[in-house]
Symmetry: D3
Subunit: 330 residues, 6 copies
Amino acid sequence: MKSVLTLGEVMLRLSPPNHFRFEQATSLEMEFGGSEANVGAALSNWGIHVRHVTAFPDNELGHSAAAHLRKNGIDDSLIQFSEGRIGLYFLEHGAAQRGSKIIYDRAGSSFSNYDGSEVDWKEVLRNIHWVHWSGISPAISRKSADLTLRILEAAHELGIRVSGDLNYRSNLWNYGKQPHEIMPKLMTLTQVMIAGKRDFNQCLGKDFESFDQAKSFAFDTFHKLQMIVRTKREVHSASFNSLSAHLYTKDQDVSTETFEVQPIIDRVGTGDAFAGGLIYGLLMDQSLEHSLNFAIACSVFKHSIPGDILNGTVEEINEILQGNSGAIKR
Amino acid sequence: MKSVLTLGEVMLRLSPPNHFRFEQATSLEMEFGGSEANVGAALSNWGIHVRHVTAFPDNELGHSAAAHLRKNGIDDSLIQFSEGRIGLYFLEHGAAQRGSKIIYDRAGSSFSNYDGSEVDWKEVLRNIHWVHWSGISPAISRKSADLTLRILEAAHELGIRVSGDLNYRSNLWNYGKQPHEIMPKLMTLTQVMIAGKRDFNQCLGKDFESFDQAKSFAFDTFHKLQMIVRTKREVHSASFNSLSAHLYTKDQDVSTETFEVQPIIDRVGTGDAFAGGLIYGLLMDQSLEHSLNFAIACSVFKHSIPGDILNGTVEEINEILQGNSGAIKR
Amino acid sequence: MKSVLTLGEVMLRLSPPNHFRFEQATSLEMEFGGSEANVGAALSNWGIHVRHVTAFPDNELGHSAAAHLRKNGIDDSLIQFSEGRIGLYFLEHGAAQRGSKIIYDRAGSSFSNYDGSEVDWKEVLRNIHWVHWSGISPAISRKSADLTLRILEAAHELGIRVSGDLNYRSNLWNYGKQPHEIMPKLMTLTQVMIAGKRDFNQCLGKDFESFDQAKSFAFDTFHKLQMIVRTKREVHSASFNSLSAHLYTKDQDVSTETFEVQPIIDRVGTGDAFAGGLIYGLLMDQSLEHSLNFAIACSVFKHSIPGDILNGTVEEINEILQGNSGAIKR
Amino acid sequence: MKSVLTLGEVMLRLSPPNHFRFEQATSLEMEFGGSEANVGAALSNWGIHVRHVTAFPDNELGHSAAAHLRKNGIDDSLIQFSEGRIGLYFLEHGAAQRGSKIIYDRAGSSFSNYDGSEVDWKEVLRNIHWVHWSGISPAISRKSADLTLRILEAAHELGIRVSGDLNYRSNLWNYGKQPHEIMPKLMTLTQVMIAGKRDFNQCLGKDFESFDQAKSFAFDTFHKLQMIVRTKREVHSASFNSLSAHLYTKDQDVSTETFEVQPIIDRVGTGDAFAGGLIYGLLMDQSLEHSLNFAIACSVFKHSIPGDILNGTVEEINEILQGNSGAIKR
Amino acid sequence: MKSVLTLGEVMLRLSPPNHFRFEQATSLEMEFGGSEANVGAALSNWGIHVRHVTAFPDNELGHSAAAHLRKNGIDDSLIQFSEGRIGLYFLEHGAAQRGSKIIYDRAGSSFSNYDGSEVDWKEVLRNIHWVHWSGISPAISRKSADLTLRILEAAHELGIRVSGDLNYRSNLWNYGKQPHEIMPKLMTLTQVMIAGKRDFNQCLGKDFESFDQAKSFAFDTFHKLQMIVRTKREVHSASFNSLSAHLYTKDQDVSTETFEVQPIIDRVGTGDAFAGGLIYGLLMDQSLEHSLNFAIACSVFKHSIPGDILNGTVEEINEILQGNSGAIKR
Amino acid sequence: MKSVLTLGEVMLRLSPPNHFRFEQATSLEMEFGGSEANVGAALSNWGIHVRHVTAFPDNELGHSAAAHLRKNGIDDSLIQFSEGRIGLYFLEHGAAQRGSKIIYDRAGSSFSNYDGSEVDWKEVLRNIHWVHWSGISPAISRKSADLTLRILEAAHELGIRVSGDLNYRSNLWNYGKQPHEIMPKLMTLTQVMIAGKRDFNQCLGKDFESFDQAKSFAFDTFHKLQMIVRTKREVHSASFNSLSAHLYTKDQDVSTETFEVQPIIDRVGTGDAFAGGLIYGLLMDQSLEHSLNFAIACSVFKHSIPGDILNGTVEEINEILQGNSGAIKR
């Protein structure tokens, strides 16, 4: 059995039901999610053993978050219960011309206070085949950036493959550091990067005019880098998007067809589903083409599922690639 | 007032709400449904007196099922309360590229144990103008096949018109008989068949290469057969289908236009709505063309209604044929 | 701060959830709404001080209705608690080919019994910049027609601008008067009319063959009239409509582009959202073109919100005009 | 099989969930109920054939009400679909020191407009063994009073037993007649009266100082009268009541023990459950004592069931009398 | 009309439904509440004009909180929209032997950042007859303590009556000050104190052995002090409590009878309901005895209402004092 | 960390919400539960590592059941996915005089088909400190009886302590064996028995007239037996019970006080909570008295929690023993 380690914050997610706006709500649907744990949960669907590194407050909300991860098949033995609050995000589901809206409320979370300095990460990583991080963790706090670095360095020493979803978020990075002071070191330790032009510009403090420029620079600069992957999304409305994906190695370009998704049940976590599918393909030694196709099908499939997490079997996802999409199964 | 007798199993249907996958659900929407009773419920909307033959366990679940039929206008006086359990089916509603999924759990049901041998069916059928059965009953158990045969033979003796929806289901037929050992006799007693090529092949143990071959064979073989009807469904996604219908007598072909349905609220029971509409048209002596159009409009309309059952007036359904589809009515 | 006075009935609205038909419902979603108060609630989103004139029974339902208006930012100090019941309307949400359906149950309401004769309307209107009425009020009862006239006459004396949404409803006008006996006087006092050909024909007892004829007659007849505005809606299905709007002064025609809305979450109140947006633009001295565009965007946006009321900021609505429609906002 | 005819209005009942006050509600639980139909529904649980006489509007709400009666086992063939609206009542559930609250909104209902003058009631009553009416019907309108009288006179001519629950309601009787102008004639035709001192005083226009006085007067005055029955309720709180019942013939007094009920899930319809139980006992020729005990146990049992209607088997109710109250049954 | 000003934080309250523990919840009921605004909302039920001083973030959650206050009749014109987050509290409802549980998450709220230094409080208070504060505000932050002091000083200068609910909370006071460094000054400016022995000890840094000692000290020390009021609660279980209240002036002791409340629907806000009732009585110049009785009845009544806020009329509450508690009202 | 192995069937539990009777329900609350897994889930609350042996169908329902166990802290690595269906039980919650009602539908489940013959149980049990079984497993099928025996024999060989809850169920034992043909051998391998007189009589085929007789016989016959434990429950109503517990060794009797529980939120699983508490105390080497008290407090606490499973900390449960029962915790 293959093992993956993911690391990152998991938040309590609260959403008005029935397409209500926040002011109309009298109850909120409750979920837990976070980019990297979402990736982990997708992988656990397919028989991968996933351990997630995070921290929660030692109260009922933190314990509920841990229970949620276990329910989704994630090994909870690396969860730290420590000082702080649980991060929150409020999500209003849009429809048609009204976009979905997220209000983050994550300052002071237990995760942001956790730097993992007391852990022997090489010991933890001994049976791990893949590590996945995202650009959200280093953006949260100095400690989270340190935690990420510690784990990536241990992975590097052990020769474990590393993927990173750069995922630049302008409303984070409030702790006094600029992305370009932190991110390059983490990128140096990463083989598979999920990133677009804007991510590269922001994380490197550059001003590339095209994705190609950014891509060339990255392959030149980061010697462990094996591939860059990005998705393209055309937003016709909050309920109707088109999706495709592209993968670049130094010498090869791979693309998928474009998928139209309508209606969108839940757009959140569709990028994480993509990352999960990509890691799965690469981890199972499938071709780049197959891996990328599986990844985009994961993303497409996730749009039909409420919550942050992709819940689907390999067979279900492959059916999308085989053109069987949406027939009733008895 | 016209009277119709329908026969078949009615199951408790359980579905996750809000497009949840099964693993996400903490409650299940509760309904009752079964192909032939769904047909009956549709007919009762339009003033037809419908009696349904079925069996339930003599417990609260069986009594709830009977109450559900009464609520939907069906005469419950032929319901048998007898040994066994209530058949169940679990339905997960799909969306976009994720198809809906049904898990049947109907083995050992009261209906499967009921053969109707103690009933004087000619007496029961005395005031009935039409009998409707489906290929699901003979597929459930030997006793259910016997029950179906008993009723069709009585109908035959009394000259009552009979329609049958062949509806081949590969996951049934587990009681030691093959379809072709049972179905031909039932088809011999049927004037109106709803069936496609695959249904004919499976029910007759044949390997017809085209629907036309199957159709010719059927008209040659089954001397009571007056017409064969089939629907065509193109599945663009779980939320978007196109539908049309076709009716064949020995000398005539009738077709409807193609209707696009989006979004699909509930795809289950749309074939039964079609059968109900068809029987209504024929029973009320409307033209083949009118009957078929009404039938397809019933099916289209049913896609917008949650649950197994078509709930709509003749006027509402005719509006679809008149091109008024979807304007608000005050 | 600008101030607007709106007047009209506010009803308790009751709707089956989950696209249920009425017969399937075991609970009803509860809202309050009424054409003119919906306009007022939209305006209060944007910082306008809105006072609404209406009457409710002095019981828990009437007080709930008042609380609902306050919640939506409306000044409740002109609400009368008086004899009668609360008007009701039952709304079944359609989907695809099944249109939404409204059952009104408003006879004998407190509003219908209220003529405002005890109020010094010139005093009330002293700080008001705009008055909005609709053709529903004069259609409800003689007293409601009188109330409307009293307020429009006071507005006229004070030189306050008046808009009216003619909104002809054939199922009202049951109190012994014909529209053309009542409406022309109210139209004489109105600068901005929202109306189509049918509204003019019904309200004036005419038989114009084209909107243009009606428009010419109106500009010739009503000397205070500054502009006529109408929306065009193409109903592809209950879930998919196309919308545009048109504004006519004596010498100028302004049109918007056509917007496609899919899926429609709630179609009710989309005309009121339009009226709200139009009044806002004109009140804030924006160009006719800008005002009309803002109004149609309000209407488009409202289709995505459950309930009667547009809840959205100026920025959110302008984004629709800027082509950003439906991207997630973090 | 025994047959009972009941007559009376059936209303749509709307209640805030979760012990909310009206102002807090955003949805309303939906039920249908009316005193006499509640009695009929209880009787149908126990195998009695029940036909209910009432009238509904010919719209989706009226049809839903009829479906609800069918679901509860009531024969709907005497329901009239006619002019008017559906009567409504809004019910707020109390708890502890806060009493439940009902707002009636039933003026102008289809039932109030229905006098049954076109029906041959002797024909209808031919196979009926018992007729049950209540004092609510004659209080609603002159037509409802006429309808009641027509049916009681037909029952009298056919020698059918009649029970009446006087059930005086001060907020009705708004149509210009006083109870004592209408009720005595109906009481003359009644064998079994459910009534307390206040009911007698109001219905007869008397001022009896004790129940005994009223009782003596009634037995002296109404020669068909066989028994008077009343319940006693001590209200400790909205959640905790004590109940007992008393039955008087000319020469005999029968009483039950006192039952404590806590918590009360739904207090509405508990008097109707009592009446249903009483009629059942008398109709099945059980002793007065047994009938009264069964009746009070029906009432006790109903307090634990949401909605207007007693839903329970004879065995379940008898268990209360046998002292087995509340153990789990597997 | 009398006017009251209240000041304090209003939080978003989130509770699992159906007596679920936090780990079981998949949705959370949503409410808003805060001790002082709860007092204000109760007062607004009875026709008092209430203005509430607080601060919210300028996002959808802050605007929802303001809408909630308006709905409950509170004048929102003194609400500040400013930097920070909305304070939260998570409430798990207990039952029987399981106590309710609150998790506060209010650090960094907009309210805690607001000191009201830019406001001319004497101007604001010009038409105010009463000011109410609680010991929670000065415990939250230095700024909140300053805000409270500013308002009390202005009230003092204008001779406005002031009530304070000391309400000591050990889990607050985290900003570096001890209660006795802050509270005495605020108490000096207060006429009506709601407090028990523990409150006095903690707020004054004393170690009184009895309430009487504390009371004497308080009357000796705080020269504006007119009365001290406290409630006594005996907790039999989470569902069953007994309540009484006591009021002390320098020369007089007043007590209420003891009320038993079962079941408790929502215990939160029952102290605020008490304070609201007390202020109402005193503000309306009722006797001390009447005021105290009304206050305890408010508290009893609130136990039956979900949410933070007492919603009830003077008549409903007086019925409790008249011994009519829990009978159904039609 | 201590480790416990539990074995037994886990069923999908379906319950009408809101105290509805089955016929009223339109949705069912969904849970999973089974006596022995409930014990395991309680233990996992307190830091015990619990592995549960069971079997599920390899479909979405089986996977949901496994996810539910993981969420509740149970190690799922011994779950078998195999032929059969998921066992079901339908639970109607009673109130007051109406008892709760369970309809089992578990025939043909995957668990009943699983005999564990392919597993090396001594290997599995190597790090286990305690094994818990119940009399339900051997009552389900021959294979389940064999599975139980295999595990108990392995435990015996390894000297692992074993507890068994005899839990006689008359509606099981349908596979052709009598309890006394199967149970004695399992009891021989058990140190801690939870049982009353009826359990002993049924499991041993005896007719003891008193518990004491049964107890003596058991201590004489089963040489590994260390203690017998039983609970006493007095059922005042479905909402109000009294509970106590008693423990007997050969030479010692220990009893708890009696606890009154009102209202009961969910009575199911309260015996399993007791067993869990007892095992915890004994496993942690606490005194018999302490263990028994903790056990009864666990049972009391469980009555307040919806679902099958005790969810509470050691501290929360101990508070019940310390007399703090029901105060709000902030």
